[in-house]
């Protein structure tokens, strides 16, 4: 969705966050998102604390804020949806700059924007500090069914293959005098797009067969062990833990 579906989302680095075993990070981010979603929308202060927690994490992981912001474009469709809510929502209305807005709609818009943004930021931080391959190994450790892990692995590889094949095809086209400039060239692109699917598949298939011929049985040989120590779980748990504390604290204040 939107721009920026690239492997480039990973930012190489060597911080505490980068070094955490992937399974810990996966669990931590999922738990954090759950806490965020469970927070009543009126507890504005809690959301502020969550944002602060993420900011601290980003600092520690040395992920620049601008990078996170750029990645948030993924959210745009929902911003549009949220902005529409005050207009299409019903119930009590307030007047703002001459338009009647639904109070309930405004609350709903805030709710979606706040929660979605926090979720997106948390995922961006996860993806920026964890290599896709490591993420797969983490998923494997978390007992995600191996068939799913396998499909996922092939999918990531194929994304590379497709990009690579697309590059090869573009170079080949250009070196034979083709420049895509106007609409008349669309059919050419379309014709070669059809070939791209089969081509990518067959290249991937041959590579897969080569893997099989070197004894591959469906599980990647794990070259380094990926066990997480208790301490590492503890470190990873700090983000959702602190968020939970913030939630409970706000609850205490409001009730």
């Amino acid at each position: 969705m939107g721009a920026g579906h690239h492997h480039r989302i990973y930012l190489a680095g060597d911080t505490v966050v980068h070094r955490l075993p992937p399974q810990c990070k996966l669990v931590a981010v999922a738990a954090f998102a759950l806490v965020v979603v469970a927070t009543p929308r009126a507890w504005v202060g809690a959301f502020g604390l969550y944002a602060l927690l993420l900011a601290v994490t980003a600092r520690v992981a040395r992920v620049p804020f601008a990078f996170v912001l750029r990645r948030m474009v993924i959210e745009i469709p929902f911003v549009v949806f949220a902005v529409a809510l005050p207009f299409i929502g019903f119930g009590e209305r307030v007047s703002f700059l001459g338009t009647a807005l639904s109070v309930e709609g405004l609350w709903a818009a805030w709710n979606i924007l706040a929660k979605a943004s926090l979720g997106v930021i948390a995922s961006v931080l996860l993806a920026a500090t964890t290599e896709p391959r490591a993420m797969l190994l983490g998923a494997q450790r978390l007992r995600l069914p191996s068939l799913l892990v396998q499909i996922m692995m092939f999918m990531l590889r194929y994304m590379d293959v497709i990009v690579d094949e697309m590059r090869r095809m573009r170079v080949a086209r250009e070196s034979r005098g083709f420049v895509a400039r106007d609409i008349r060239h669309v059919p050419v692109i379309a014709r070669s797009a059809g070939a791209l699917f089969i081509r990518s598949y067959e290249r991937g298939e041959r590579v897969h067969l080569a893997m099989l011929s070197r004894g591959y049985t469906g599980v990647m040989p794990v070259i380094g062990e990926l066990t997480a120590s208790f301490r590492q779980w503890l470190v990873a748990g700090m983000l959702p833990g602190a968020a939970l504390l913030a939630l409970l604290g706000t609850w205490g204040l409001t009730s």
Binding site: R203, R206, A210, S213, R214, G215, T217, I223
Partner: protein, 243 residues
């Protein structure tokens, strides 16, 4: 003694309907080095892909060291038969050369220092130790081919099947590869279009043409049969004088 490779009445058609093999028969003994010659499109690659079960025969059988190639013996077959693909891009897929060469032995359950030793040794043999930490798809074509050979050497297979291993190699690497193959005590089947190379390395040659074996005999004899050569688009190169 059971032969290393035995192929009988093997026929195969690709999914799009093109039939490539029309009943291939051949027997290769243990320790033999055999050249597989033939024109472009003869079916050499197709045949070779059957030898470790990558393609499944449409008809006929393939037996490796007495073991028929079938679904439940595949693991064992693939441990025994090492296959170097014609296109190195099909063979290399890991993010670094080191991991790529380690992939095969690791699948055989080898790890730790032994794994490290095997990887280094195989790369040393093909002269590619210096690129060990680079991504394979950033190498030159010839370098990729050498790494592809190393990935198979690292598995120490009993039977080595090579599909045009010397193409795109510089002349010195080509000779070094010949020396490696001669130094190994394994059965070798090598597809090649380089007839002098075949003569230098293999005592026996097979000619595959139009999907069937058209000739089988000592390389020297086959290469001196002008009519046979001409019938299958084979010819000795410019300036070649058999020593």
């Amino acid at each position: 003694m059971t032969p290393s490779l035995e192929v009988s009445r093997l026929a195969y058609a690709y999914p799009d309907g093109t039939q490539a093999l029309f009943g291939v028969n051949l027997v290769i003994g243990r320790g033999e080095r055999v050249a597989l010659l033939g024109p472009n499109g003869a079916g050499k690659t197709t045949l070779v892909m059957h030898l470790n079960g990558i393609l499944t025969p449409g008809h006929g059988t393939v037996t490796v060291a007495g073991l028929p190639v079938a679904k439940d013996s595949l693991r064992e077959i693939r441990r025994r038969v090492g296959l170097v693909f014609q296109d190195p891009d099909d063979q290399l897929f890991m993010p670094t050369v080191r991991e790529d060469v380690a992939f095969g032995p690791a699948n055989l359950g080898i790890g730790g220092e032994e794994l490290e030793r095997r990887v280094k040794d195989a790369l040393e043999r093909v002269g590619m130790l210096e690129v060990i930490d680079r991504p394979p798809h950033h190498l030159s074509f010839g370098q990729r081919r050498r790494v592809a050979v190393a990935t198979v050497l690292a598995m120490s297979p009993e039977i080595l099947v090579l599909d045009e291993p010397s193409s795109n190699l510089d002349p010195a690497s080509r000779r070094e590869l010949a020396e490696i193959l001669r130094s190994l005590d394994v059965t070798v089947l090598m597809v090649t279009h380089d007839l002098p190379y075949a003569m230098e390395l293999c005592d026996r040659a097979l000619v595959l043409s139009g999907g069937v074996i058209a000739a089988d005999g000592p390389t020297r004899e086959i290469l001196s049969d002008a009519a046979l050569l001409a019938a299958h688009r084979l010819e000795l190169p410019y300036g070649f004088a058999p020593p």
